[in-house]
């Protein structure tokens, strides 16, 4: 039988004692809910404590735990554990990042309980006003969130980044969420006849259709938001088997780009460069990538990609030479 590790259980015990000391009317059931473990785990923790204390472990030096018939818990003789343990930097930054992010979502109330909780925590940790989270404020976010909540069908003007084209489509919005710097809309797209994921900052306009969405949206929404997407690619593109594959060698100073691309294969070379095979959804995406990387990307194949880069550069140059 596998038993929990000592570390997590110790952390829980060291959190339960100060909570019970500060809240004398606590029950075993409440502790189980609050610390997200079964009642039996709390009972094991409470059974362990009376064996703990200070040398020489006489009755007056051991922690005194009393659980009455109704499950009320009382803990005495544990003065040294009556206050909780400090947050580690990793815990502090994770908690404040999450709270600050939620406060930054348009529509959040900075004067509500979350706002005051953040202010108190930051003061306690010594970082008042020193953590800032910006989740962006796409102007259409509010309208999209309202449409999801009300189940409204919308018409969107959308800029497809990969193909660099504008389209208009009717959608049934299902979810609006933020991942690593960008807002996304999941919706059933009537133009595609399937679930699609849109980047909110590429939606140019939203118009109500006056129609409401049937209770169950027709068709499955994409899976929950994956993580790991970066600035160059995004969650909108999911590579398909038929999409073009391109092989590049990225110079060491551009190797980080590989982390942000939808890769089929990746080989890290000894000199710090990276050889990648990536899936490409549209020429516009590839043009942008190659033009931005410039000499830091060597095209290994297929050969027509070299011509694609050359002609894209020439086309942009015309703006500067006419």
């Amino acid at each position: 039988m596998s038993r929990p590790l000592a570390g997590p259980r110790l952390a829980r015990v060291l959190a339960i004692v100060p909570y019970v000391c500060a809240n004398p009317d606590t029950t075993v059931t409440e502790l189980a809910e609050r610390f997200r473990v079964p009642r039996s785990e709390i009972e094991r923790d409470l059974a362990l404590l009376p064996m703990c204390g200070l040398p020489p472990y006489t009755a007056d030096r051991l922690i005194d735990v009393w659980v009455d018939d109704e499950g009320y818990v009382d803990i005495r003789l544990a003065e040294y554990f009556e206050r909780p343990l400090r947050l580690t930097p990793a815990e502090g930054v994770a908690l404040l990042a999450a709270a600050r992010a939620l406060l930054a979502v348009p529509g959040a109330d900075p004067t509500g309980p979350l706002g005051t909780a953040v202010a108190k925590l930051e003061a306690t940790v010594g970082v008042s006003g020193r953590i800032a989270v910006d989740v962006g404020s796409a102007p259409l976010l509010g309208a999209l969130r309202d449409a999801v909540a009300a189940g409204e069908r919308l018409e969107l003007d959308y800029h497809s980044y990969a193909r660099d084209e504008l389209t208009t489509r009717r959608v049934d919005p299902t979810r609006v969420f933020h991942v690593l710097g960008a807002w996304y809309l999941d919706a059933f797209c009537h133009r595609a006849g399937a679930g699609r994921r849109f980047r909110v900052d590429r939606i140019l306009a939203v118009r109500p259709t006056g129609e409401t969405v049937p209770a169950a949206p027709p068709g499955p929404a994409p899976a929950s938001a994956p993580s790991g997407a970066g600035v160059l690619t995004d969650l909108v593109y999911e590579p398909r088997a038929g999409d073009r594959r391109v092989e590049l060698r990225l110079a060491p100073e551009a190797a980080w780009v590989a982390d942000d691309l939808p890769l089929d294969a990746r080989v890290d070379e000894a000199d710090g460069s990276v050889r990648v095979t990536l899936a490409v959804s549209g020429d516009a995406f590839l043009e942008r990538l190659l033009l931005r990387l410039g000499p830091a990307a060597e095209i290994l194949g297929p050969p027509e990609v070299t011509e694609l880069r050359r002609s894209a550069a020439a086309r942009l140059l015309e703006r500067y030479t006419r």
Binding site: L204, L290, Y320
Partner: protein, 310 residues
């Protein structure tokens, strides 16, 4: 297993309660359940216990037992252990629970933090509305901000120093911002691009200028993060892409709107590479107008790629 847990609890209690550092021999004499008699395995088990406590954020101070400085002892300083009471009420704890369940950070840390603050209050959020990455070294940077410690690290192959004033998250990345003593200027560094484990200097190693917040560094877009001499650039954006660019930069960036719907936007550029990427990302829908050296940079960049022999 539960013997070890008992010993860990007793070790923590004893080290917290003591007024002076205790040697390993003293701890072995007093603690129950005790450490092994054999010295090497005693030392090994004690080191393992110390490591477990350290991972939980319980710092053990090591120092001489007396002023003669002969023997080394251990204790936990109360100020290092106890969380100053932030005074959260139930509604605030419930709001924090909502935050850590509504924002996915890919680790268990926020829930651990919540436990120390009194556990999970309320129902929490059913579904994440936002997902964040917490890169390596972010915790070190956070600690340095909190205690005002100077940082040293490798960045783009160069040794850099920073007096960190704050952390900010923007465009999906964490930046540590502050004063660079070598360049005597404000700088922002992407935390996930830091190439070495940062060195952390003494606490209270610098003062943060009054009235500055990380939001001051959020004024504009990523082209403002960088080390190049600041210069005002003007970019012509064609009508068909104007709404996207204005949406991203804000109305304040618009310097001119032309009859055909094209706009001229102004940017304060301190990172020429990022600026060039911003312009090229718009393909043939954009053109750098000014200043001449930035226009020339884009032209030279494109020409090098247009004139490649095929």
């Amino acid at each position: 297993m539960s013997e070890r847990l008992e010993r860990l609890i007793n070790l923590t209690a004893t080290l917290l309660d003591t007024r002076r550092p205790l040697t390993l021999d003293e701890l072995a004499d007093r603690l129950e359940p005790g450490y092994p008699e054999e010295l090497a395995s005693r030392r090994r088990q004690f080191e393992r216990d110390k490591e477990t406590l350290r991972e939980l954020g319980i710092p053990i101070t090591v120092g001489p037992v007396d002023s003669l400085g002969g023997e080394i002892g251990y204790r936990i300083l109360p100020d290092d252990y106890y969380l100053p009471d932030p005074g959260l009420d139930p509604a605030e704890r419930a709001a924090l629970h909502l935050a850590v369940t509504g924002v996915e950070t890919g680790g268990v840390e926020p829930l651990d933090a919540l436990r120390k603050l009194g556990g999970a209050e309320g129902e929490g959020a059913g579904e994440a509305v936002a997902t964040f990455a917490l890169p390596a070294h972010l915790d070190l940077c956070f600690d340095a901000v909190a205690r005002r410690c100077a940082l040293g690290f490798a960045y783009r192959g160069e040794a850099r120093r920073l007096e960190p004033h704050g952390l900010l998250h923007r465009f999906g990345h964490w930046y540590v911002v502050g004063h660079d003593p070598d360049r005597d200027a404000i700088r922002a560094f992407r935390v996930d691009r830091i190439e070495s484990v940062p060195t952390v200097g003494e606490a209270d190693g610098f003062t943060v200028p009054v009235g500055t917040t990380p939001a001051d560094y959020l004024a504009s877009d990523p082209v403002t993060f960088g080390a190049d001499a600041p210069v005002r650039a003007r970019v012509l954006v064609a009508a068909e892409r104007a709404p996207l660019v204005v949406g991203a930069l804000g109305d304040v960036a618009v310097e001119e709107t032309r009859a055909d719907g094209a706009v001229v936007v102004g940017l304060d550029v301190v990172n020429i590479d990022a600026f060039r990427s911003f312009v090229l990302d718009l393909l043939d829908h954009a053109e750098v107008l000014e200043p001449p050296h930035l226009r020339a940079d884009v032209v030279a960049w494109l020409r090098a790629q247009a004139e490649v022999a095929t």
